[in-house]
Symmetry: C2
Subunit: 595 residues, 2 copies
Amino acid sequence: MPIYKAPLRDMRFVLYELMDGDGLAALPGLETFDRTLTDAILDEAARLCETVLFPLNRSGDEEGCRFENGTVATPDGFAEAYRLFRDGGWTSLACDPAYGGQGAPATVATLFQEMMCSANLSFGTYPGLSHGAYVALHGYASEEIKARYLPKLVDGTWSGTMCLTEPHCGTDLGLIRTSAEPREDGSHALFGTKIFISAGEHDLTENIVHLVLARLPGAPKGTAGISLFVVPKYLPAEDGRPGLRNAVACGSIEHKMGIRASSTCLMNFDGATGWLVGEPHKGMRAMFAMMNAERLAVGVQGLGLGEVSYQNAVAYARDRLQGRSLAGAKAPERPADPILVHPDVRRMLLTARAHVEGCRALALWAARALDDARHHPDPSERRAADDFVQLVTPVVKALLTDLGFETTNLGVQVFGGHGYIREHGQEQHVRDARIAQIYEGTNGIQALDLVGRKMPAHAGRYLRRFFHPVADYIDAHAADPELAAFVGPLAKAFGRLQQATATIARRGLSRPEEAGAAASEYLHLFGLTALAYLWARTAEVSLPHLGETDPDGYYRAKVATARFFMERILPRTGALSAQIMAGARTMMDFEDAAF
Amino acid sequence: MPIYKAPLRDMRFVLYELMDGDGLAALPGLETFDRTLTDAILDEAARLCETVLFPLNRSGDEEGCRFENGTVATPDGFAEAYRLFRDGGWTSLACDPAYGGQGAPATVATLFQEMMCSANLSFGTYPGLSHGAYVALHGYASEEIKARYLPKLVDGTWSGTMCLTEPHCGTDLGLIRTSAEPREDGSHALFGTKIFISAGEHDLTENIVHLVLARLPGAPKGTAGISLFVVPKYLPAEDGRPGLRNAVACGSIEHKMGIRASSTCLMNFDGATGWLVGEPHKGMRAMFAMMNAERLAVGVQGLGLGEVSYQNAVAYARDRLQGRSLAGAKAPERPADPILVHPDVRRMLLTARAHVEGCRALALWAARALDDARHHPDPSERRAADDFVQLVTPVVKALLTDLGFETTNLGVQVFGGHGYIREHGQEQHVRDARIAQIYEGTNGIQALDLVGRKMPAHAGRYLRRFFHPVADYIDAHAADPELAAFVGPLAKAFGRLQQATATIARRGLSRPEEAGAAASEYLHLFGLTALAYLWARTAEVSLPHLGETDPDGYYRAKVATARFFMERILPRTGALSAQIMAGARTMMDFEDAAF
């Protein structure tokens, strides 16, 4: 049976000891989120995820969603779990108190998201998409629309979707064909087909609020002519409750590699009634607001799946007896040693562990900056924090999902053949993790966002929000012999990142394809350097605790994992750097016909 | 609809231009295998794989195998396809003419295997396992057993299995509990349960021949007490045809991540009649003979799946219009450019291509050596060739399946969201490829085999079969300016490999865990260096053809891909080298309780 225990000890370490979680309550609007409340939330979240959501993860995958006569049935138990989820107030956790939300910090919401993704990613897509719709409406809709929809999304009686992709366009939203015809009453009639709509139809809520990208008549070509509309499944009646059925319907659901309990719908809009959200032709703005929040959340999916896969791999490695330690039997009284003794198994487990814990720190760093960007009283601090969030959002999305996929595959490999069969749940984590590298902008698109938009933005201002603290940290600790094993490798990786940054910027000036050709490797070089910084800080924070104050060895393990990261994972930056430096020539000069 | 065309042009290049395929007919026993016959076989194999096996690949995955009342039904069409397969003589291709085989060279059989794996890996497991059983019987069984079973396995009316794994042991076969009790008639009664038995039960053949590892009474502990038995599903009657049902039965089948049309069976032996193969307690020897052949074949599975995934990714990248080239519109008359214009898409495609073509060359190199090992008239040449096969078998198995998995994932990524849904077949290749990293010895076990057995064997004699030709090649071409772009990077990687080899050998003397901790990275360092050597040779062979003699640009593409490999893939060896040099400490000193 698969297992999952929320890693609360590590979450608290990252939140309080690395990311100044105690400082959250000093921010206006977050006063109540002191350690007492935050810990209580995390404990309760863990209970929900461990006992309600996780037990439905395997059965949900086996059963999948069922499509019949335009309706989608979620797997057994999902409706009841959603009721508990909603009744527990979890849909409102990170929402505006003005609409019934609890206004929790992004840091706390991120840790909750991680637990949800570990426990049941498919389930998490339903409230996840609702939150995306909430963000777009909260940021851009009229007061009237907000008053009508936000309380329902916040209390979870309604859910939301984001309808972007069409059969012929996903990444390139400029090609969208869905049209919106104005009506005399101020509403619009929407016509078109959207695909890959997560949670587009299901049986968890009394209404579903679609946010739909579409074109108004005479709209400019490309993304400058796209508007955003809110299109509810049931039109709200005068009393605010679901009234008439709208002309939007699910035509089919996709059969997918993973997240099989998440309904992925083709949605037909046949003159469906919708209302404009924000200004005409400015739909991409709201879409990006929502997308940025979602990208961080998708990164956390990779993290959460890596965590649960790691936990199961460790349990298996302790239990499974196979072979003897190369250094002599460790359990001579048993027929064989547990496979945990084998160096290659330990390599896989430590790689997974270093990924997961490092990625948790990176996700929390971004979330902590988001909290500052939203709540800090000083506008320049807010801007600085927002700059950082802008910069690292694509890194969090792509790095955490790439490493998450790698980690879940290590989790299968530790199990050997038993990892490949469905019974133990490890292969499901791989299938579930694979989508996170694709949706909300493929990881290639994240890399282009990093090198093409974020790197040059404001003459490098975003970049400096990362480069300056890291450079300062290296300078401050370069002479500390206790930290040399951590700061030395960090400095080397950081040097590679600086050189790659300068090279890409210079080459990209004359040939934009140079930046494109370097993008994916650059994102990983950036991301691994960020992890190295966080692992160095982790070691710095942990070293003073070694010895008496560390009875359970928590800090010792932190230092040891940091060391492993520096010696066995960070060297990848050398290869990435060489690949970047090689330039675009080999891929751009290749003749199209020869592929 | 997924596509597959056998890459005959490239197969012929590797066979004839890189691996002296024309020299095969000069080997005693292979006289008929000149270019005319070989090409005819490959053409016919391509037709079978493209038109018979490939069309059943997706439907086979959707349908899976069905277990009912002890029998297994393969998916619709498999039985008819198997009939065509058998009638076409494909089961006998690589078998001994003494038993009705065609005696084809390993090189030709390997190319056929690649096509089968591209077209329908699940289907390929049925004849694949039969061939494994054939190899073990052919090498170790008595004349009587051979006469009874081999003709049936060769003509494909019967199939075979290999029953090794038990619920509590896979890698560590020393723990096997299945027992064999001698009977007065010279047969044995087998008792026990085997799991993960591919093709253990199915509806394709009139009989199934199980090769079973079991213990005789009083057998020594561990692998020194394991014997091999042949246990047919139906006991052959006097006339050689299937007679009485034997007491071996399928108890259930596994539900797996992939290869869903391949039946993976739990087999119960309840006093089943079996006959000893080879000497008592020497079963591991026959098992290894079979296993080595299988390991090369499993490597080819990664190659084949990479190839078909690449072909589909290229087709999609040409068709799918999305965004504009960073260098300005390439198809201004269309709403967007094909995604083939984007550097990151080209990076993924070229990575896939360089993997696949390089791995094909490596697989053929091993197969060509196998042909020499079997047929060369000079015993010292035979031994040298066999040394090489011994050495590279784990490398072929692990490298080709690891790169195959990476390649199929790139193939999904190029498709974006469309790669994640089942419709296009790309995600199936990922799920199918995943098993190849696990079965026939996990890739971690392959790495241990390389560093623990093959590296030190005969004071490094195996190793020299690789190191000497590569060193000689580098020496011979170091001064050639035309080859500098290829031989330079090869020499650098080779230097890293030499250093890593010496370091591991030295450290491993005092601490065997050092070798274990370095093994996986060392295998990849070795494998990438081997690919670099093959890509350098490919460039050397191709360069003279550029220009007039290369009307379709085939050789130009070869040189360009070689360049891409050197600049964008080979740098990974730098990271691998650093990881190896870091040693075992970080993973072995980590406290068990802290995982």
